[in-house]
C-alpha cells in the first residue's frame, strides 16, 4: 500500500468507492437521528412526547422503523407498470445521494471537486422530480397521479427561482466550484455571502439583497423537496398520501430516505452558498498550526452544526406553518419569488461590474 497504488485505475476506483461509502454511511446515520429529531420537534411544538419507547428517549426509533420496513411485504398494484413502479423509488434514492458527491464537507473533504459543482447540484436536484412523477404514473391510480402532476408543476416552478438565487451567489463568488465558494467566505461571519461576501465594510450594504435571497432559497428549497408548508404532492387531507399511496415496504422506505437526503441537501446548500459552509463564524488563524486532518475535522463540525440548525428550521416550519393552497403556491413561486430574484440578479450583476471594480 503506497501512494503509487492509489494512482492506478484499480486503486483510484477503490479509493473513490471507499470515499462514497464513507459519505453515504455518514448521511444514512445522520438521517436516522435527524428523522427522529424531526418527529421530536414536531411533537414538542404540539406538547406531545414523540417517539419515546425504543431505546433511551426513543433514540433507536428510526432503526426499529427500518427493520419494520424491510420485513414487510412489497405490494405491487395489479394494473401497475411494474418496471417503472420499482424504478421510481430507486431513482429518488440514487439522486438524493448522488448530489452529495460534490458537497464540500470540510477543507479537502469532498468526493469529487469538479469545476461546475453548483451546476451539478442544480442538475441533480432538477432530476428529483422524476422519481415522484414516475412513481405516481406507474401506480395506475388516481390520487398518486394527481400527486405526481402537482409535484411536477411545483418543482419546475420553484427550480426557476432557485436557479436565479444561485446565480447571485455565483456572480459574487466568480466561480462555480463549491470548494472555492466556501473557501472565499473565510475569516468571520461577516464574510458570508448572506452579508454580501468578503470585502470592505461598505460592501455589507449587499446584505439588503442577499439576506432576502437566502430566505427565498430556503423557502424554495422547502417547495422543491415537498416539505410542509408546500407538501401538496402528498397532502393527506386531499390526496391520501399523493404519489406514495400505492407504495409499501422497501420501495416506500427508499422514497422516504431519498426525500430526507434531499432535505438535508437543501440545508447543506443553504449553508454552503450563504452561510460559509465549513467556515467557522469567527477568524481562525489558530488552525494554521494544526495538522490538516484536525483542521478539516474542525471545519466539518461547523458544517454539521449549520446543517442541523437549518434542519431545525425545516422541522419548525412543518410544525407551525399551515399548508398552502395550490394557487397560492403557484402565485408565490411565479409572481413573488421569480421577479424578486430576477431583479436581484440584475442588481448584483451591476454591483459586480460598477461597485466591486471587477
Amino acid at each position: 500500500m503506497n501512494a503509487s497504488f492509489w494512482g492506478t485505475p484499480g486503486g483510484w476506483t477503490l479509493l473513490t468507492v471507499l470515499q462514497i461509502l464513507a459519505v453515504m454511511v455518514w448521511i444514512l446515520l445522520s438521517l436516522a437521528f435527524l428523522l427522529l429529531a424531526d418527529r421530536k420537534i414536531w411533537a414538542g411544538v404540539q406538547m406531545r412526547k414523540g417517539p419515546n419507547v425504543v431505546g433511551p428517549f426513543g433514540l433507536l426509533q428510526s432503526f426499529a422503523d427500518f427493520g419494520k420496513f424491510l420485513l414487510k411485504e412489497i405490494v405491487i398494484p395489479a394494473g401497475a407498470d411494474k418496471t417503472v413502479f420499482l424504478l421510481a423509488p430507486l431513482i429518488a434514492f440514487t439522486l438524493g445521494f448522488g448530489a452529495w458527491a460534490v458537497i464540500p464537507l470540510a477543507p479537502g473533504w469532498v468526493v469529487s471537486n469538479i469545476n461546475v459543482g453548483v451546476l451539478y447540484l442544480f442538475a441533480i436536484s432538477s432530476l428529483g422530480v422524476y422519481g415522484i412523477i414516475m412513481g405516481g404514473w406507474a401506480s395506475n391510480s388516481k390520487y398518486p397521479f394527481l400527486g405526481s402532476l402537482r409535484s411536477a408543476a411545483q418543482m419546475v416552478s420553484y427550480e426557476v427561482s432557485i436557479g436565479f438565487v444561485i446565480v447571485t451567489v455565483i456572480i459574487l463568488a466568480g466561480t462555480l466550484n463549491l470548494q472555492q465558494i466556501v473557501a472565499s467566505q473565510g475569516g468571520g461571519f461577516w464574510n458570508w455571502y448572506v452579508f454580501g461576501g468578503p470585502g470592505p465594510l461598505w460592501t455589507k450594504l449587499l446584505t439588503v439583497i442577499m439576506l432576502p435571497m437566502a430566505g427565498i432559497f430556503f423557502i424554495s428549497g422547502l417547495a422543491e423537496t415537498n416539505r410542509p408548508p408546500f407538501d401538496l404532492p402528498e397532502a393527506e387531507s386531499e390526496l391520501v398520501a399523493g404519489y406514495a399511496v400505492e407504495y409499501s415496504s422497501t420501495p416506500y422506505l427508499l422514497f422516504q430516505i431519498g426525500e430526507y437526503a434531499n432535505i438535508v441537501l437543501i440545508c447543506a446548500m443553504t449553508s454552503i452558498l450563504f452561510f460559509g459552509g465549513w467556515q467557522a463564524p469567527f477568524p481562525t488563524p489558530f488552525t494554521a498550526h494544526w495538522s490538516p486532518t484536525a483542521a478539516s475535522f474542525f471545519g466539518f463540525m461547523w458544517f454539521f452544526a449549520k446543517i442541523i440548525f437549518f434542519f431545525f428550521l425545516v422541522a419548525m416550519a412543518k410544525a407551525i406553518v399551515p399548508r398552502y393552497r395550490y394557487d397560492q403556491l403557484m402565485r408565490l413561486g411565479w409572481k413573488v419569488f421569480l421577479p424578486t430574484s430576477l431583479v436581484a440578479v440584475v442588481v448584483v450583476a451591476a454591483w459586480r461590474v460598477f461597485g466591486m471594480g471587477a
Binding site: 469545476n115 461546475v116 451539478y120 442544480f122 432538477s126 404514473w137 419546475v156 427550480e159 462555480l176
Partner: protein, 209 residues
C-alpha cells in the same frame, strides 16, 4: 485510458440503445423515459470530452425542464398511438431519406475534423480550445466567447425566445368577463374597518338589510 475507453463505450451504447428504444417502445411514456436516458448518457459523453459545462446545461435544460414537460403532456394526453403508427410504411421512404441525409452530414463533418482539424472561427486563444493550457475553466471560456464575439447572435437568440414566450401567452391567455377572479391585492388591502360592521341590536329584533 482504460477507464475512459470503458466509460465511452458504455455511454455510447446506452445512448444508441435508448435512442432506438424511443422510437420502438410501445408505450409513449416509456418512450419519453428512454429519451431521458439518451439525454443523460449524452451528457456523460460531454463530460468525457471535457465539456462539463455543456453536460450540466444539457441535464438542467433538457432533462430537468423540457423532458419533464414532455412527460407531463404525454401522461395527460389520451392519444391513440396505434392509429399514429398506421402510416409507417407510407412514411418510411421520406423518413429514411432524412435519416440518411443526417448520417451523411455527420460522417462528412467527422471526416473533415479528423483529417484537417476543427475550423477556427477566430484567432483568440480562448476560442481555439487552448483553455487546457491557460487554466481557464470551461464555463469561463464559453462565456468570454459568447459575450464578446457572438454577443449579437446571443441577443438575437434571446429575442427569439422572448417572442416565442409572448406568443404562447397570447395564444393561451383568455379572460372570460363572466368569471369572478381572485384579486390578491384587494384581499391583502382589506382592513377591519372595511370588512366588518358592528350593529347594536335590541333583544327580539332581527337585522334587515
Amino acid at each position: 485510458m482504460g477507464l475512459q475507453a470503458i466509460a465511452f463505450y458504455l455511454l455510447a451504447i446506452v445512448t444508441i440503445a435508448a435512442g432506438f428504444a424511443v422510437v420502438s417502445a410501445r408505450n409513449p411514456v416509456h418512450s419519453v423515459l428512454f429519451l431521458i436516458a439518451a439525454f443523460f448518457s449524452a451528457a456523460g459523453l460531454f463530460v468525457l470530452m471535457g465539456a462539463e459545462f455543456l453536460a450540466m446545461l444539457l441535464v438542467v435544460v433538457y432533462v430537468g425542464a423540457v423532458a419533464v414537460l414532455f412527460l407531463f403532456v404525454v401522461m395527460m394526453l389520451d392519444v391513440d398511438f396505434a392509429a399514429l403508427r398506421q402510416g409507417f410504411a407510407r412514411y418510411l421512404p421520406i423518413g429514411g431519406l432524412i435519416a440518411g441525409g443526417l448520417a451523411m452530414e455527420m460522417v462528412i463533418v467527422s471526416y473533415t475534423v479528423a483529417t484537417t482539424g476543427a475550423a477556427k472561427l477566430n484567432d483568440t486563444p480562448l476560442a481555439s480550445g487552448a483553455h487546457a493550457a491557460t487554466g481557464v475553466t470551461n464555463a469561463e471560456a464559453i462565456g468570454r466567447v459568447l459575450y464578446t464575439n457572438y454577443v449579437y447572435f446571443f441577443q438575437a437568440a434571446g429575442m427569439v425566445l422572448l417572442v416565442a414566450m409572448i406568443g404562447a401567452i397570447v395564444l393561451t391567455l383568455r379572460h372570460k368577463p363572466s368569471v369572478r377572479r381572485q384579486v390578491i391585492a384587494d384581499q391583502v388591502a382589506r382592513t377591519r374597518r372595511g370588512g366588518m360592521r358592528v350593529v347594536s341590536l335590541k333583544p327580539g329584533e332581527g337585522v334587515s338589510e
